[in-house]
Amino acid sequence: MALLSIQDLHVYLGESHVLQGISFDVAEGGVTALLGRNGVGKTTTLRALMGLVDRRGTIELAGDDIQSVPTHKIVRRGVGYVPEDRDVFSALTVEENLRLAERDAEPQYDLVYDLFPELRERGKQAAGTLSGGQQQMLAIGRALLNDNRVLLVDEPTKGLSPLLVTEVARVLERVSELTTVLLVEQNLGVVNHVARDAVVLDTGRVVHIGPAKELLADKPMIHRMLGVG
């Protein structure tokens, strides 16, 4: 059974019909990549799953309908979220950002500091003064603090240096051993490295579902669907 099942999901943003009835499943374990050109609705899909935008359709988490569940309760059911622009709280320190994210009785600080030792060293530093890469570490660390059933990660390598991209890919690989990940990512090298399945969106519709490696090996299809390669 799919851990996350999305059926006929529609989202309107103002006059724009951004998601036009998308349907796909996210299997338990591993990384499912959500791909597509800019503006096709990838980020909106994650925001819809989180309940951060008004949506219509069916969203099931392990068989439970969460379509009408408010965001904070979706999170408490075990859905972690790493947003596209990191959205760390710039006026709060690194420690405060992490403390705010605690929701389990025993938050997994050992895991977070093991993956990102720099966060421990910079605990007293205001998050707004961190570099982009450090903010990304904090955003991912914040989500990993709790025991999630599924993690929604939106473009974690966006704007990062090649060295940091490799680092993030390594972290995602480790995270995928711990929980299920739905990953929006433009960097196909990272997708190739970590993803098992791929879902491709185009203008608000699902146009491809299948194993990620097969998709990425098919250059003409990649060029047609994603405009790269």
Partner: protein, 293 residues
């Protein structure tokens, strides 16, 4: 020298009053995006409760009588603020026009109700004698109530800072001021903190109401709404959502008002504050703290 000192201390006293009112307004807007035009009635409700209780304790000596009445006023004012959020504001989150209409309507309705019940004339409150006397420092005769106003504002400032920095709710409020949706995406029901912030705002405004009553020894139906106008200016100058910015702005506004009234012309104080607002909006549109606005 003595005149300047007098103007400075009384200006700080005025600033202290503005800070107490503006701090709640600032937090409420910063966290919830609610422009609370009903904030002034928290002062009115506190003031009238104080007067009502004080008038019923005729046999009790003035100081304990005033303290008991002030405490009753603060409790009622705080509960009234929390109920305002729960009953009127909560159903209207995200609907800004309706929020403005309901808070303006509430302010008008409460003022009209108070006027209908107790009349438009000011009601006299017996304040402790010491607060009506002066203390002479370097030749300046400083009214004693100003010291209480300044000391109270400093205590409230430190208490708010401690709440915001040392408690989980404070953490939620600070984060919520920055990005409310992301706080929710961390699994936190941010709306629970809305009522608390409204109650804190109501309490701070109520404290201002008690201090204003101490200063004027009267309560009247309009006192809340007249004070809240300058508090809004303080909030915009200080930067919405920033307690420290609000504190600095309150001090500046209080001093400018006093100095302008004396050194320029009586009545120019209010105009000076509006000019100051214009300058800040042009030079630093996000206010002194640089956040929001």
């Amino acid at each position: 020298m003595s005149t300047f000192l007098l103007l400075t201390i009384t200006g700080l006293g005025l600033g202290a009053m503005y800070f107490l009112i503006a701090s709640g307004l600032s937090l409420i807007y910063g966290l919830m995006g609610v422009l609370n035009f009903a904030h002034g009635i928290f002062i009115t409700v506190t003031g009238y409760t104080l007067w009502f209780v004080e008038s019923k304790l005729g046999d009790v000596p003035v100081l304990p009588r005033f303290l008991i009445a002030a405490l009753a006023g603060l409790v009622v004012g705080t509960v009234f603020a929390a109920l305002t959020e729960l009953v009127l504001i909560r159903p209207l989150y995200g609907r800004h026009i309706e929020q403005v209409l309901v808070t303006v309507g509430l302010a008008l309705a409460v003022t009209a109700l108070v006027t209908a019940i107790w009349g438009s004339d000011a009601r006299v409150v017996a304040a402790p004698a010491w607060t009506g006397q002066t203390t002479t420092i370097f030749g300046a005769h400083i009214p004693n109530d100003r010291w209480i106003e300044i000391a109270t504002a400093v205590i409230v400032l430190f208490a708010l800072e401690a709440f915001l920095r040392r408690t989980r709710y404070g953490l939620i409020v600070r984060a919520g001021v920055e990005n409310r949706a992301m706080v929710t995406a961390l699994g936190i029901d941010v709306r629970k903190s809305f009522t608390l912030v409204f109650a804190i705002g109501g309490l701070a405004a109520g404290i201002a109401g008690v201090l204003y009553t101490l200063y004027s020894t009267t309560v009247d139906p309009q006192q809340g709404t007249s004070l809240v106008i300058f508090a809004f200016i303080v909030v915009v100058i200080g930067g919405l959502g920033s307690i420290r910015g609000t504190a600095w702005a309150a001090i500046i506004v209080g001093l400018v008002q006093q100095y302008a009234n004396y050194y320029a012309s009586s009545g120019l104080g209010d105009l000076s504050v509006v000019l100051l607002l214009g300058i800040v909006l042009i030079a630093r549109p996000r206010g002194l703290s640089g956040s929001f606005a």
